[in-house]
């Protein structure tokens, strides 16, 4: 993987490509457009959001002034603590479900399947259909008077009052479905990377298939499992499409609250404070991950 610096085989000095000034300036010239874009439209807005969360806004003119008004935070956490917890629980449940469902499949693709590229493409197929349409399709299929529930009720497999939409199960299921490719790909990358000779060695050393799996495959797949967890859990915790379409009034997630405060009630300080709390929660998790496995590793799995 490392870019190896070739030994100078010819015994001549390497060709000079740039002037001294050119060489020291070129990384900045090359990188500047993207770096500036990210700083201006990603870092600065984040800082703005942090400051907005401690500002007070005039409810009529919407003019905001920085008042270092931290009192909003405890209020909001008190008010939306349940929503935060619910979001984390739903996202966690969805991530675990996606991991459990996807692991055997990625294992199969990595170790057994003949046409790996084809099955990888199959994993990515949902990406070719809009996220909102996929969720809408589930919404229509699982509707109380939809094809599936009507059939089940005719067959008396479920009681007449049974419904799926507006339940936590629907939201968790929707999250798990929509983020499955994000779970599956890092798992696949990690499993694919496992040196087959290590597994042969374990068999040579009389490991049973189960022991080889729990003592060789699983430990080597841990970075992939972590990456999959992060790539699924973080977007799922902030998601509000699934909760808005598949959920009901008692499955409200924090994303919905932030969206509503920002776009409907124009309560910018509160919305910013809630986003800040969400971001901090996620960054703590991400930082723990980066500390544990290094920040480069996650990029390898993206």
């Amino acid at each position: 993987m490392e870019q190896h610096v070739p030994a100078d085989l010819h015994g001549v000095e390497p060709p000079r490509r740039h002037t001294r000034l050119g060489r020291s300036a070129s990384p900045y010239l090359l990188g500047a457009p993207a770096i500036v874009w990210l700083v201006v439209f990603f870092v600065v807005p984040l800082v703005t959001m942090l400051s907005l969360s401690i500002q007070t806004c005039d409810s009529i003119t919407l003019a905001c002034t920085l008042t270092w008004h931290f009192a909003e935070f405890p209020n909001l956490i008190g008010q939306y603590g349940d929503t935060f917890v619910r979001s984390l629980v739903y996202a966690g449940a969805a991530t675990v479900a996606a991991l459990v469902v996807a692991f055997p499949v990625t294992y199969w693709i990595a170790f057994r399947a003949k046409r790996k590229n084809f099955f990888l493409l199959m994993l990515l197929v949902p990406f070719f259909v809009s996220f909102v349409i996929r969720t809408t399709a589930w919404y229509t299929l699982l509707a109380d008077n939809g094809a599936i529930l009507t059939k089940l009720k005719i067959l008396h497999l479920v009681p007449e009052s049974f419904h799926v939409l507006a339940t936590p199960l629907a939201v968790i299921g929707g999250l798990a479905y929509n983020y499955l490719p994000f779970t599956a790909l890092p798992l696949y990358v990690a499993l694919e990377r496992i040196d087959r000779r290590v597994m042969e060695a374990s068999h040579d050393l009389y490991a049973t298939r189960r022991v080889a799996f729990t003592h060789v495959v699983l430990p080597l797949a841990v970075p992939g499992i972590f990456a999959a967890f992060l790539l699924t859990f973080v977007p799922a915790a902030g998601d509000y499409v699934n909760a808005a379409i598949l959920g009901g009034t008692n499955t409200v997630m924090i994303g919905q609250v932030i969206q509503k405060k920002f776009l409907e009630t124009a309560d910018y300080p509160a919305a910013s404070a809630l986003s800040t709390v969400l971001l901090v929660l996620m960054l703590v998790g991400i930082a723990a991950y980066a500390k544990f496995l290094g920040s480069r590793t996650i990029e390898e799995y993206v």
Binding site: R17, W108, N117, T140, A147, A244, A271, L278
Partner: protein, 294 residues
């Protein structure tokens, strides 16, 4: 490994013989493929539903998608632009995705070149920034960007959408291109320059063709991210309406079948592109059977 220490049972001659092992693997041999097939079927449920029900008849005055099959029709394909605001939203999404892809592919490629080729002050900070950008929840990106635009008093519309889309695509492009550049042999560029090529010619004739697959992969990823984006767009769109935004707005009142028609069109185009890429890749591999770098 510790496997040896744990597995204390002494293997008998029977365990070592190849025949029982074959027999033992027989039932597990089929579980995984069967499970995987079921998994892929599950993955395809809403997609199949979309494609099939884009051909479903509807007899109501205001045609809506339901899960009740009412007969085959190609009516919605003939009237694909029959919903007043849907078609402009669809084209807005395509235009936005195309422009955002071109900008983010260019910026991302340049940044990837800088990151792979040079050591410079701020390199670590740049990588950290990209990492946070990818890892941050989308709602935070959207909310903070909206707060920023509000503070600047910038009117929301196509330009703010474009800014946002490039912002969340560029790090993905950079990582994709960088992965490709890492396996790049710098000797090739040196050889070109030994043969008298200027840096400019070297870039166009050697570097660009070699990293082009990486740029293409990054660009496709950016296009896919952009055309499907809902969360960030919802914050910064103002009165502009993209395709996902329109669909989301219509869900609770009922979506017209044309949404499935346009969804099927995007799906088919994406699938054709992906299959072409797969075939092309397979051919390239057959033509030059090099050992894969990894």
């Amino acid at each position: 490994m510790s496997a040896l220490a744990q597995d204390t049972s002494i293997p008998s001659a029977k365990d070592l013989a190849p025949v029982p092992r074959e027999r033992r693997r027989r039932w597990t041999y089929y579980t995984l493929p069967v499970y995987s097939s079921a998994f892929f079927l599950y993955l395809l449920i809403p997609i199949t539903f979309m494609v099939v029900y884009s051909f479903n008849q509807s007899h109501s005055a205001l045609p809506q998608v339901t899960s009740k099959w009412q007969g085959f029709t190609t009516q919605w394909y003939q009237q694909w632009n029959g919903v007043p605001d849907l078609t402009p939203a669809f084209f807005l999404s395509i235009k936005l995705a195309l422009i955002a892809t071109v900008i983010s592919a260019t910026l991302g490629t340049l940044l990837a070149l800088a990151l792979v080729r040079y050591r410079f002050r701020g390199k670590g900070a740049t990588e950290q920034m990209m990492f946070t950008n990818i890892a941050a929840p989308e709602i935070v990106l959207g909310a903070s960007l909206l707060g920023f635009f509000i503070t600047l008093n910038l009117p929301r519309g196509f330009s703010t959408l474009l800014i946002a889309h490039v912002m969340f695509c560029v790090a993905y492009v950079t990582i994709t291109v960088r992965a490709r550049l890492s396996g790049f042999d710098p000797m090739l560029e040196q050889a070109a320059q030994d043969l008298g090529a200027t840096p400019w010619v070297t870039f166009w004739k050697i570097t660009l063709p070699l990293i082009f697959p990486g740029i293409l992969a990054g660009a496709l990823l950016a296009f896919a991210l952009s055309i499907d984006d809902f969360v960030t767009s919802n914050f910064v769109a103002g009165s502009s309406v993209t395709f996902p935004l329109w669909v989301y707005g219509a869900v609770k009142v009922g979506i017209p079948p044309q949404v499935f028609v346009l969804g099927t069109a995007i799906f088919s185009a994406g699938l054709v592109l992906a299959v072409l890429a797969l075939v092309f890749q397979g051919r390239a591999k057959k033509a030059r059977p090099e050992p894969e770098e990894g």
